[in-house]
Symmetry: C2
Subunit: 211 residues, 2 copies
Protein backbone atom coordinates (compact mmCIF):
# COMPACT_ATOMS: atom_id res chain seq x y z
CA UNK A 1 0.00 0.00 0.00
CA UNK A 2 0.97 3.61 -0.54
CA UNK A 3 -0.42 6.55 1.41
CA UNK A 4 -0.58 9.95 -0.25
CA UNK A 5 -0.36 12.37 2.63
CA UNK A 6 0.57 15.88 3.73
CA UNK A 7 1.92 16.49 7.19
CA UNK A 8 -0.57 19.24 8.06
CA UNK A 9 -3.68 17.77 6.46
CA UNK A 10 -6.12 16.94 9.18
CA UNK A 11 -7.80 14.23 7.08
CA UNK A 12 -4.42 12.61 6.30
CA UNK A 13 -3.51 12.82 10.00
CA UNK A 14 -6.67 10.79 10.79
CA UNK A 15 -5.68 8.06 8.36
CA UNK A 16 -2.09 8.01 9.65
CA UNK A 17 -3.46 7.37 13.16
CA UNK A 18 -5.81 4.68 11.86
CA UNK A 19 -3.05 2.88 9.97
CA UNK A 20 -0.76 2.91 13.01
CA UNK A 21 -3.53 1.58 15.24
CA UNK A 22 -3.93 -1.35 12.85
CA UNK A 23 -0.16 -1.89 12.83
CA UNK A 24 0.15 -0.91 9.16
CA UNK A 25 2.93 1.28 7.78
CA UNK A 26 2.40 1.85 4.06
CA UNK A 27 4.98 3.73 2.02
CA UNK A 28 4.23 7.45 2.40
CA UNK A 29 4.19 9.88 -0.53
CA UNK A 30 3.97 13.53 0.45
CA UNK A 31 1.71 15.77 -1.66
CA UNK A 32 2.24 19.36 -0.57
CA UNK A 33 -1.04 21.28 -0.48
CA UNK A 34 0.69 24.29 -2.02
CA UNK A 35 -0.36 23.51 -5.58
CA UNK A 36 1.30 20.09 -6.00
CA UNK A 37 -2.11 18.49 -5.41
CA UNK A 38 -3.31 19.90 -8.73
CA UNK A 39 -0.46 18.39 -10.77
CA UNK A 40 -1.55 15.96 -13.50
CA UNK A 41 0.14 12.96 -11.92
CA UNK A 42 -1.71 13.36 -8.63
CA UNK A 43 -5.02 14.22 -10.29
CA UNK A 44 -4.72 10.89 -12.09
CA UNK A 45 -4.61 9.24 -8.67
CA UNK A 46 -7.29 11.39 -7.02
CA UNK A 47 -9.43 13.62 -9.28
CA UNK A 48 -10.43 15.58 -6.19
CA UNK A 49 -6.80 16.73 -5.68
CA UNK A 50 -7.19 15.97 -2.01
CA UNK A 51 -5.20 13.95 0.47
CA UNK A 52 -5.33 11.38 1.89
CA UNK A 53 -5.51 8.75 -0.83
CA UNK A 54 -4.61 5.14 -0.13
CA UNK A 55 -3.35 3.06 -3.05
CA UNK A 56 -3.81 -0.67 -2.47
CA UNK A 57 -1.30 -3.20 -3.76
CA UNK A 58 -3.47 -3.89 -6.85
CA UNK A 59 -3.50 -0.19 -7.77
CA UNK A 60 -7.01 0.52 -6.48
CA UNK A 61 -7.14 4.00 -5.00
CA UNK A 62 -9.32 4.72 -1.99
CA UNK A 63 -10.18 8.30 -1.05
CA UNK A 64 -12.06 10.17 1.68
CA UNK A 65 -10.65 9.58 5.13
CA UNK A 66 -13.81 8.15 6.71
CA UNK A 67 -14.28 5.68 3.85
CA UNK A 68 -10.63 4.64 4.09
CA UNK A 69 -10.92 4.09 7.84
CA UNK A 70 -14.09 1.99 7.47
CA UNK A 71 -12.19 -0.06 4.86
CA UNK A 72 -9.26 -0.54 7.23
CA UNK A 73 -11.64 -1.57 10.00
CA UNK A 74 -13.46 -4.09 7.80
CA UNK A 75 -10.17 -5.52 6.49
CA UNK A 76 -8.12 -5.55 9.71
CA UNK A 77 -10.74 -5.84 12.46
CA UNK A 78 -8.38 -5.51 15.43
CA UNK A 79 -8.42 -3.20 17.29
CA UNK A 80 -11.95 -2.20 16.24
CA UNK A 81 -12.64 1.45 15.47
CA UNK A 82 -16.34 1.09 16.29
CA UNK A 83 -18.12 -0.41 19.32
CA UNK A 84 -20.20 -3.58 18.98
CA UNK A 85 -23.74 -2.24 19.48
CA UNK A 86 -25.54 -0.69 16.54
CA UNK A 87 -26.69 2.38 18.45
CA UNK A 88 -23.22 2.90 19.89
CA UNK A 89 -21.73 2.55 16.42
CA UNK A 90 -24.13 5.22 15.16
CA UNK A 91 -23.14 7.55 17.99
CA UNK A 92 -19.42 7.12 17.33
CA UNK A 93 -19.89 7.60 13.59
CA UNK A 94 -21.96 10.73 14.28
CA UNK A 95 -19.19 12.20 16.46
CA UNK A 96 -16.63 11.45 13.75
CA UNK A 97 -18.91 13.11 11.21
CA UNK A 98 -19.44 16.15 13.41
CA UNK A 99 -15.73 16.76 12.81
CA UNK A 100 -15.48 15.47 9.25
CA UNK A 101 -18.76 16.85 7.85
CA UNK A 102 -19.38 19.95 9.98
CA UNK A 103 -16.10 21.47 11.17
CA UNK A 104 -13.20 20.43 8.97
CA UNK A 105 -14.82 21.10 5.54
CA UNK A 106 -15.25 24.76 6.45
CA UNK A 107 -11.69 25.25 7.58
CA UNK A 108 -9.45 23.27 5.30
CA UNK A 109 -6.78 24.70 3.03
CA UNK A 110 -8.89 25.15 -0.09
CA UNK A 111 -11.59 27.03 1.81
CA UNK A 112 -9.08 29.25 3.59
CA UNK A 113 -7.52 29.99 0.20
CA UNK A 114 -10.95 30.95 -1.19
CA UNK A 115 -11.58 33.31 1.73
CA UNK A 116 -8.26 35.03 1.11
CA UNK A 117 -7.76 34.87 -2.65
CA UNK A 118 -11.34 35.15 -3.96
CA UNK A 119 -13.27 36.93 -1.21
CA UNK A 120 -10.22 39.03 -0.20
CA UNK A 121 -11.11 38.78 3.47
CA UNK A 122 -8.54 40.19 5.86
CA UNK A 123 -6.72 38.02 8.39
CA UNK A 124 -8.96 38.88 11.32
CA UNK A 125 -12.14 38.08 9.39
CA UNK A 126 -10.75 34.75 8.18
CA UNK A 127 -9.65 33.96 11.72
CA UNK A 128 -13.15 34.76 13.03
CA UNK A 129 -14.65 32.43 10.41
CA UNK A 130 -12.27 29.68 11.44
CA UNK A 131 -12.92 30.08 15.17
CA UNK A 132 -16.69 30.32 14.65
CA UNK A 133 -17.00 26.87 13.05
CA UNK A 134 -14.59 25.27 15.51
CA UNK A 135 -16.55 26.64 18.47
CA UNK A 136 -19.94 25.73 17.00
CA UNK A 137 -18.83 22.15 16.45
CA UNK A 138 -16.85 21.75 19.67
CA UNK A 139 -19.75 23.06 21.79
CA UNK A 140 -21.94 20.24 20.50
CA UNK A 141 -19.22 17.59 20.75
CA UNK A 142 -18.34 18.63 24.31
CA UNK A 143 -21.95 17.88 25.37
CA UNK A 144 -21.96 14.45 23.77
CA UNK A 145 -18.64 12.88 24.74
CA UNK A 146 -17.43 11.24 27.93
CA UNK A 147 -15.21 12.86 30.56
CA UNK A 148 -12.64 10.06 30.80
CA UNK A 149 -10.36 10.91 27.91
CA UNK A 150 -12.22 9.03 25.19
CA UNK A 151 -15.14 10.27 23.13
CA UNK A 152 -17.13 7.09 23.72
CA UNK A 153 -16.57 4.39 26.31
CA UNK A 154 -13.08 3.53 27.51
CA UNK A 155 -11.17 2.94 24.31
CA UNK A 156 -10.15 4.65 21.10
CA UNK A 157 -12.83 4.88 18.41
CA UNK A 158 -13.24 6.57 15.06
CA UNK A 159 -14.46 9.64 16.96
CA UNK A 160 -11.14 10.12 18.78
CA UNK A 161 -9.22 9.55 15.56
CA UNK A 162 -11.13 12.44 13.98
CA UNK A 163 -11.19 14.72 17.01
CA UNK A 164 -7.49 14.76 17.92
CA UNK A 165 -6.36 16.15 14.52
CA UNK A 166 -9.12 18.78 14.69
CA UNK A 167 -7.86 19.88 18.11
CA UNK A 168 -4.34 20.13 16.70
CA UNK A 169 -5.74 22.37 13.97
CA UNK A 170 -7.67 24.50 16.44
CA UNK A 171 -4.50 25.08 18.46
CA UNK A 172 -2.57 25.91 15.31
CA UNK A 173 -5.12 28.66 14.61
CA UNK A 174 -5.05 29.76 18.25
CA UNK A 175 -8.67 29.00 19.06
CA UNK A 176 -9.30 29.19 22.82
CA UNK A 177 -10.17 25.72 24.12
CA UNK A 178 -10.81 26.68 27.75
CA UNK A 179 -14.53 25.83 27.45
CA UNK A 180 -13.88 22.30 26.25
CA UNK A 181 -12.36 20.25 29.10
CA UNK A 182 -13.68 16.93 27.79
CA UNK A 183 -12.24 17.56 24.36
CA UNK A 184 -8.90 18.48 25.95
CA UNK A 185 -9.03 15.24 27.96
CA UNK A 186 -9.37 13.27 24.70
CA UNK A 187 -6.44 15.21 23.28
CA UNK A 188 -4.32 14.36 26.34
CA UNK A 189 -5.29 10.70 26.69
CA UNK A 190 -5.40 9.64 23.05
CA UNK A 191 -2.69 12.04 21.89
CA UNK A 192 -0.25 10.31 24.23
CA UNK A 193 -0.78 6.89 22.63
CA UNK A 194 2.06 5.83 20.35
CA UNK A 195 -0.19 5.50 17.26
CA UNK A 196 -1.37 9.09 17.69
CA UNK A 197 2.07 10.43 18.53
CA UNK A 198 3.70 8.79 15.50
CA UNK A 199 1.00 10.26 13.23
CA UNK A 200 1.47 13.81 14.54
CA UNK A 201 2.25 16.40 11.85
CA UNK A 202 5.55 17.37 13.47
CA UNK A 203 6.80 13.80 13.17
CA UNK A 204 6.18 13.44 9.42
CA UNK A 205 9.12 13.40 6.98
CA UNK A 206 7.54 16.22 4.93
CA UNK A 207 7.25 18.55 7.94
CA UNK A 208 9.73 21.43 7.87
CA UNK A 209 12.56 21.06 10.35
CA UNK A 210 11.93 23.10 13.48
CA UNK A 211 14.55 25.66 14.46
Amino acid sequence: MKLFTYFRSSAAYRVRIALRLKGLEPEAHAVALDGAQHAEDFRAINPQSLVPALMLDDGTVLTQSLAIMEYLDETWPEPPFLPAGREDRAKVRALAQMVACEIHPLNNTRVRNYLTDTLHLDGATSQAWYAHWIRTGFEAIEQLIGADGYCHGDRVTLADICLVPQVYNARRFEVDLADFPRIRAVEATCGALEAFAAAHPDRQPDAPATA
Copy 2:
Protein backbone atom coordinates in the same frame (compact mmCIF):
# COMPACT_ATOMS: atom_id res chain seq x y z
CA MET B 1 -39.35 6.08 15.60
CA LYS B 2 -39.62 9.82 15.01
CA LEU B 3 -37.79 11.73 12.30
CA PHE B 4 -36.96 15.38 12.86
CA THR B 5 -36.83 16.82 9.38
CA TYR B 6 -37.13 19.94 7.25
CA PHE B 7 -38.45 19.73 3.74
CA ARG B 8 -35.54 21.60 2.15
CA SER B 9 -32.70 20.14 4.21
CA SER B 10 -30.53 18.08 1.93
CA ALA B 11 -29.32 15.89 4.79
CA ALA B 12 -32.89 15.21 5.92
CA TYR B 13 -33.85 14.46 2.31
CA ARG B 14 -31.15 11.75 2.25
CA VAL B 15 -32.53 10.11 5.36
CA ARG B 16 -36.10 10.32 4.06
CA ILE B 17 -34.99 8.42 0.94
CA ALA B 18 -33.11 5.87 3.04
CA LEU B 19 -36.10 5.24 5.32
CA ARG B 20 -38.44 4.76 2.35
CA LEU B 21 -36.01 2.34 0.69
CA LYS B 22 -36.09 0.25 3.86
CA GLY B 23 -39.89 0.44 3.93
CA LEU B 24 -39.92 2.52 7.12
CA GLU B 25 -42.20 5.49 7.71
CA PRO B 26 -41.49 7.05 11.11
CA GLU B 27 -43.61 9.88 12.43
CA ALA B 28 -42.22 13.11 10.96
CA HIS B 29 -41.67 16.26 13.02
CA ALA B 30 -40.80 19.34 10.99
CA VAL B 31 -38.13 21.66 12.40
CA ALA B 32 -38.02 24.80 10.27
CA LEU B 33 -34.44 25.98 9.71
CA ASP B 34 -35.57 29.58 10.23
CA GLY B 35 -34.58 29.71 13.88
CA ALA B 36 -36.80 26.96 15.27
CA GLN B 37 -33.78 24.65 15.26
CA HIS B 38 -32.24 26.75 18.05
CA ALA B 39 -35.27 26.46 20.36
CA GLU B 40 -34.56 24.81 23.71
CA ASP B 41 -36.82 21.83 23.04
CA PHE B 42 -35.01 20.88 19.86
CA ARG B 43 -31.56 21.58 21.28
CA ALA B 44 -32.40 19.05 23.98
CA ILE B 45 -32.90 16.51 21.21
CA ASN B 46 -29.92 17.54 19.07
CA PRO B 47 -27.36 19.91 20.62
CA GLN B 48 -26.11 20.66 17.10
CA SER B 49 -29.47 22.24 16.17
CA LEU B 50 -29.33 20.34 12.90
CA VAL B 51 -31.74 18.07 11.09
CA PRO B 52 -32.09 15.21 10.52
CA ALA B 53 -32.32 13.55 13.91
CA LEU B 54 -33.88 10.11 14.31
CA MET B 55 -35.41 9.26 17.69
CA LEU B 56 -35.65 5.53 18.26
CA ASP B 57 -38.53 4.00 20.18
CA ASP B 58 -36.45 3.87 23.38
CA GLY B 59 -35.75 7.60 23.15
CA THR B 60 -32.19 7.25 21.81
CA VAL B 61 -31.47 10.05 19.35
CA LEU B 62 -29.27 9.43 16.34
CA THR B 63 -27.82 12.34 14.39
CA GLN B 64 -25.70 12.94 11.27
CA SER B 65 -27.30 11.59 8.12
CA LEU B 66 -24.48 9.21 7.14
CA ALA B 67 -24.39 7.67 10.62
CA ILE B 68 -28.17 7.30 10.60
CA MET B 69 -28.10 5.59 7.19
CA GLU B 70 -25.35 3.17 8.27
CA TYR B 71 -27.51 2.36 11.31
CA LEU B 72 -30.55 1.74 9.12
CA ASP B 73 -28.47 -0.49 6.86
CA GLU B 74 -27.08 -2.51 9.77
CA THR B 75 -30.54 -2.88 11.35
CA TRP B 76 -32.65 -3.50 8.24
CA PRO B 77 -30.19 -5.06 5.76
CA GLU B 78 -32.56 -5.22 2.76
CA PRO B 79 -32.15 -3.63 0.31
CA PRO B 80 -28.46 -3.01 1.11
CA PHE B 81 -27.09 0.52 0.78
CA LEU B 82 -23.55 -0.75 0.20
CA PRO B 83 -22.15 -3.37 -2.18
CA ALA B 84 -20.67 -6.61 -0.85
CA GLY B 85 -16.97 -6.16 -1.64
CA ARG B 86 -14.83 -4.14 0.75
CA GLU B 87 -13.20 -2.04 -1.97
CA ASP B 88 -16.57 -1.36 -3.58
CA ARG B 89 -17.98 -0.38 -0.22
CA ALA B 90 -15.11 2.05 0.25
CA LYS B 91 -15.73 3.58 -3.17
CA VAL B 92 -19.45 4.04 -2.51
CA ARG B 93 -18.80 5.53 0.91
CA ALA B 94 -16.22 7.88 -0.63
CA LEU B 95 -18.74 9.10 -3.22
CA ALA B 96 -21.31 9.68 -0.49
CA GLN B 97 -18.71 11.58 1.50
CA MET B 98 -17.70 13.68 -1.48
CA VAL B 99 -21.21 15.09 -1.21
CA ALA B 100 -21.61 15.00 2.56
CA CYS B 101 -18.09 16.12 3.58
CA GLU B 102 -16.98 18.28 0.64
CA ILE B 103 -19.97 19.94 -1.03
CA HIS B 104 -22.94 20.14 1.28
CA PRO B 105 -21.13 21.49 4.40
CA LEU B 106 -20.07 24.58 2.44
CA ASN B 107 -23.53 25.35 1.12
CA ASN B 108 -26.01 24.58 3.84
CA THR B 109 -28.32 27.08 5.50
CA ARG B 110 -26.08 28.05 8.39
CA VAL B 111 -23.13 28.76 6.09
CA ARG B 112 -25.25 30.78 3.65
CA ASN B 113 -26.56 32.75 6.62
CA TYR B 114 -22.98 33.45 7.75
CA LEU B 115 -22.01 34.67 4.28
CA THR B 116 -24.96 37.07 4.26
CA ASP B 117 -25.36 38.13 7.89
CA THR B 118 -21.76 38.15 9.14
CA LEU B 119 -19.61 38.63 6.04
CA HIS B 120 -22.26 40.87 4.38
CA LEU B 121 -21.54 39.36 0.97
CA ASP B 122 -23.87 40.43 -1.82
CA GLY B 123 -26.12 37.97 -3.62
CA ALA B 124 -23.85 37.48 -6.62
CA THR B 125 -20.81 36.73 -4.44
CA SER B 126 -22.76 34.24 -2.32
CA GLN B 127 -24.07 32.63 -5.49
CA ALA B 128 -20.52 32.34 -6.89
CA TRP B 129 -19.40 30.69 -3.63
CA TYR B 130 -22.27 28.24 -3.87
CA ALA B 131 -21.65 27.37 -7.52
CA HIS B 132 -17.88 27.06 -6.99
CA TRP B 133 -18.16 24.28 -4.42
CA ILE B 134 -20.87 22.47 -6.36
CA ARG B 135 -18.77 22.52 -9.52
CA THR B 136 -15.57 21.49 -7.74
CA GLY B 137 -17.28 18.49 -6.19
CA PHE B 138 -19.39 17.52 -9.20
CA GLU B 139 -16.36 17.58 -11.54
CA ALA B 140 -14.69 14.93 -9.40
CA ILE B 141 -17.85 12.86 -8.92
CA GLU B 142 -18.62 12.94 -12.66
CA GLN B 143 -15.25 11.26 -13.32
CA LEU B 144 -15.80 8.52 -10.77
CA ILE B 145 -19.36 7.36 -11.34
CA GLY B 146 -20.94 5.09 -13.94
CA ALA B 147 -22.93 6.21 -16.97
CA ASP B 148 -25.95 3.99 -16.41
CA GLY B 149 -27.98 6.04 -14.00
CA TYR B 150 -26.40 4.77 -10.79
CA CYS B 151 -23.25 6.03 -9.12
CA HIS B 152 -21.89 2.52 -8.67
CA GLY B 153 -23.00 -0.70 -10.35
CA ASP B 154 -26.62 -1.22 -11.31
CA ARG B 155 -28.50 -0.49 -8.14
CA VAL B 156 -29.10 2.28 -5.63
CA THR B 157 -26.37 2.81 -3.06
CA LEU B 158 -25.56 5.33 -0.37
CA ALA B 159 -23.87 7.41 -3.07
CA ASP B 160 -27.09 7.92 -5.04
CA ILE B 161 -28.99 8.70 -1.85
CA CYS B 162 -26.55 11.54 -1.17
CA LEU B 163 -26.16 12.74 -4.74
CA VAL B 164 -29.82 13.19 -5.72
CA PRO B 165 -30.58 15.71 -2.94
CA GLN B 166 -27.40 17.61 -3.80
CA VAL B 167 -28.53 17.85 -7.43
CA TYR B 168 -31.91 19.14 -6.24
CA ASN B 169 -30.06 21.80 -4.27
CA ALA B 170 -27.84 22.71 -7.21
CA ARG B 171 -30.90 23.22 -9.39
CA ARG B 172 -32.56 25.30 -6.70
CA PHE B 173 -29.55 27.61 -6.80
CA GLU B 174 -29.51 27.58 -10.59
CA VAL B 175 -26.10 25.96 -11.04
CA ASP B 176 -25.55 24.91 -14.66
CA LEU B 177 -25.37 21.11 -14.83
CA ALA B 178 -24.65 20.79 -18.56
CA ASP B 179 -21.15 19.42 -17.92
CA PHE B 180 -22.41 16.59 -15.74
CA PRO B 181 -24.34 14.08 -17.88
CA ARG B 182 -23.61 11.13 -15.60
CA ILE B 183 -24.82 13.02 -12.56
CA ARG B 184 -27.97 14.00 -14.45
CA ALA B 185 -28.50 10.35 -15.38
CA VAL B 186 -28.43 9.41 -11.68
CA GLU B 187 -30.92 12.19 -10.99
CA ALA B 188 -33.24 10.85 -13.71
CA THR B 189 -32.96 7.15 -12.91
CA CYS B 190 -32.93 7.23 -9.12
CA GLY B 191 -35.13 10.31 -8.82
CA ALA B 192 -37.91 8.42 -10.61
CA LEU B 193 -37.97 5.62 -8.04
CA GLU B 194 -40.88 5.83 -5.62
CA ALA B 195 -38.65 6.04 -2.51
CA PHE B 196 -36.84 9.04 -3.96
CA ALA B 197 -40.01 10.68 -5.27
CA ALA B 198 -41.83 10.34 -1.94
CA ALA B 199 -38.85 11.91 -0.14
CA HIS B 200 -38.71 14.93 -2.46
CA PRO B 201 -38.92 18.32 -0.69
CA ASP B 202 -42.05 19.32 -2.61
CA ARG B 203 -43.91 16.31 -1.28
CA GLN B 204 -43.26 16.99 2.41
CA PRO B 205 -46.09 18.21 4.65
CA ASP B 206 -43.96 21.18 5.80
CA ALA B 207 -43.35 22.40 2.24
CA PRO B 208 -45.25 25.57 1.38
CA ALA B 209 -48.20 25.01 -0.96
CA THR B 210 -47.26 25.85 -4.53
CA ALA B 211 -49.36 28.46 -6.30
